[in-house]
């Protein structure tokens, strides 16, 4: 948040500010706060096969937390989250490093950054589908490998598998790592790096002992993005695993499809709690407030 600068303001300026912030507050209240409150309320409702029955029961939570499937699904989702987080962090960090320190001219920095950003503004679903001709049984990759004689039979694990899910996540979400880390890196004072180099540090030691500590806020923000996006995903897992993998989001959307709203709501509240705890852990680990 930008810090208010020390300028004098006339009394009505404060009211003016409140007035200017009101539309944002109103929209978020109606479309974020109230809906989440609704989720929490409905998670205590009862239901049968035709309708939701207002009330206060704990059966939904008992069903969610008591089922082995839930725990197994969380484990599966966490597995995806950890793998995708690790891959996007590594890729994103060095891409940001490349853009911030290897590319010298400002114009090219902006240009290449935009090249990385543009796909983010196009359809995710199309970007998922576009892996099909590449990874399929008769796809480009298998075709090439066969022609080169590297494999005898087409690889089956490429499409509709955990591999495809992870690949697609990395494809979709690496930018969420690159942007904040790049943003932290361009703010690093170049003289610090010169000083380290003059003191005899090799490039990798500069990265380890100067750049990584100073890029921590960016790393934390990128991690929060990737972790929350993967934890809540339902569409990538559904499309790219061919129905073979599970995720918490998918579990919720299946319950919605069966019109079991209170069960879905309880599941959603648990997911929200887990995601908020993970975000809290990242924030605490890096002490984001202090860094900002």
């Amino acid at each position: 948040m930008p810090r208010p600068r020390g300028t004098r303001f006339r009394g009505y300026d404060k009211w003016w500010a409140v007035l200017q912030a009101t539309p944002l507050a109103a929209i978020l209240a109606v479309f974020l706060l109230v809906p989440i409150a609704t989720l929490i309320v409905v998670s205590f409702f009862d239901y049968d096969s035709v309708q939701i029955i207002p009330g206060f029961v704990l059966t939904n939570y008992r069903d969610v937390l008591g089922a082995a499937t839930t725990w197994w699904t969380y484990l599966e989702t966490l597995k995806f989250t950890v793998i995708v987080w690790a891959v996007t962090l590594l890729t994103g960090f060095w891409l940001a490093y490349f853009l911030a320190f290897v590319v010298q001219s400002r114009t090219w920095q902006t240009t290449w950054f935009l090249v990385c950003t543009v796909p983010f503004l196009t359809s995710n679903i199309i970007r998922m589908i576009s892996w099909v001709p590449f990874l399929g049984r008769n796809g480009l990759l298998n075709g090439t490998l066969l022609r080169l004689g590297l494999i005898r039979a087409p690889l089956e694990f490429l499409l509709f598998s955990d591999f495809a899910v992870v690949l697609t996540f990395v494809h979709l979400y690496t930018l969420f790592m690159v942007a904040p880390i790049f943003n932290s890196m361009v703010r690093i004072d170049r003289r610090l790096i010169e000083a380290a180099t003059d003191a005899g540090a090799r490039p990798w030691r500069v990265v380890l002992e100067v750049i990584i500590p100073l890029a921590k806020p960016g790393i934390a923000i990128g991690s929060i993005f990737v972790v929350t996006l993967v934890m809540g995903d339902f569409i990538t897992v559904r499309l790219m695993s061919g129905g073979q993998s599970a995720s918490v989001g998918l579990m919720i959307s299946n319950e919605v499809a069966l019109l079991q709203y209170p069960a879905a709501a309880a599941n959603a509240v648990v997911l929200l709690a887990v995601v908020l705890m993970m975000v809290g852990a990242i924030v605490r680990l890096i002490d984001l407030r202090k860094e900002l």
Partner: protein
């Protein structure tokens, strides 16, 4: 900084990453020109516009024309709202006002709360209140919870570089708050505002996760495409992908061009 060899390796890796980023989309663009007998993968079985023509036959896909019209309209609505609301809020946050911290936390939360929860929550709220969910109501609101945080963050970046003395000078010369905003602040922040508009439109136009449970009975384009993935196994899917990606690309191009133009105008005026 890495040496000469290190640099070359990194440039090579970056090129590979760009290929990874754009390769798949380019592949389906090529495949959308399959001949009438062509399949979902290579080899190309002739080249034709057959699948594009197929798109516009009503029976081939659900309601392609209607969904694209709704998506564009909704994108424009979200864009206009995002621009106005984030610019106002961005200006407000330059002052200490009651609840500023809470509002900021709420905005960031809006970005990181899993999309399916937002969709489900709004869906349930409309259900309990007895309102009919529709793309121009519930889905519009759901998309705003996704675009507004981006808008506000862009405003923060823009205003951090904004020199307050321009504004103070205008005031000292007797300009009213509106005159100050209209002829001093707005021209200076215009490139950033164009950026917010670009984000507002494209994020809405392609939004899926928050729209799915809130759109009601009429589909937006991404929902239509998702429906197609489960029951259509011809390159018509790629044709639609190519078309909507080109539309996004045109909007992005126009947006970036706008940002550049406004920046240049600003540079000349100085």
């Amino acid at each position: 900084m890495p040496g000469r060899i290190g640099r070359s390796i990194m440039i090579g890796c970056f090129a590979l990453f760009v290929l990874f980023l754009y390769g798949p989309t380019l592949t389906i663009m090529i495949l959308s020109f399959q001949g009438p007998d062509g399949g979902l993968t290579f080899p190309m079985n002739g080249a034709s516009l057959h699948w594009f023509a197929n798109l516009f036959e009503r029976q081939a896909v659900g309601d392609f024309g209607g969904s694209i019209r709704r998506s564009v309209l909704l994108g424009l609505m979200v864009m206009a709202t995002t621009v106005v609301v984030s610019v106002l809020a961005g200006l407000a946050f330059r002052r200490r006002f009651r609840g500023a911290g809470v509002l900021f936390t709420l905005t960031v939360a809006s970005l990181i709360v899993p999309s399916i929860l937002v969709g489900l929550g709004i869906g349930l709220l409309f259900n309990l209140a007895g309102w009919d969910p529709a793309w121009y109501g519930s889905a519009f609101g759901a998309q705003l919870t996704w675009t507004l945080p981006f808008g506000l963050l862009i405003m923060f970046a823009v205003l951090n570089r904004f020199d307050r003395r321009w504004e103070e000078a205008a005031r000292d010369l007797g300009a009213s708050p509106w005159q100050t905003f209209r002829s001093v602040v707005l021209p200076i922040i215009a490139p950033g505002v164009a950026g917010i508009a670009l984000f507002g439109f494209t994020l809405s136009y392609d939004e899926f996760a928050r729209t799915l449970l809130t759109a009601g009975s009429d589909n937006t384009l991404p929902l239509e495409i998702f429906g197609m993935t489960t029951n259509i196994t011809t390159p018509v899917l790629y044709a639609l992908g190519t078309l909507t990606t080109l539309l996004s690309a045109m909007v992005i191009g126009a947006g970036l061009f706008g940002v550049l133009l406004l920046r240049r105008r600003r540079a000349i005026r100085r």
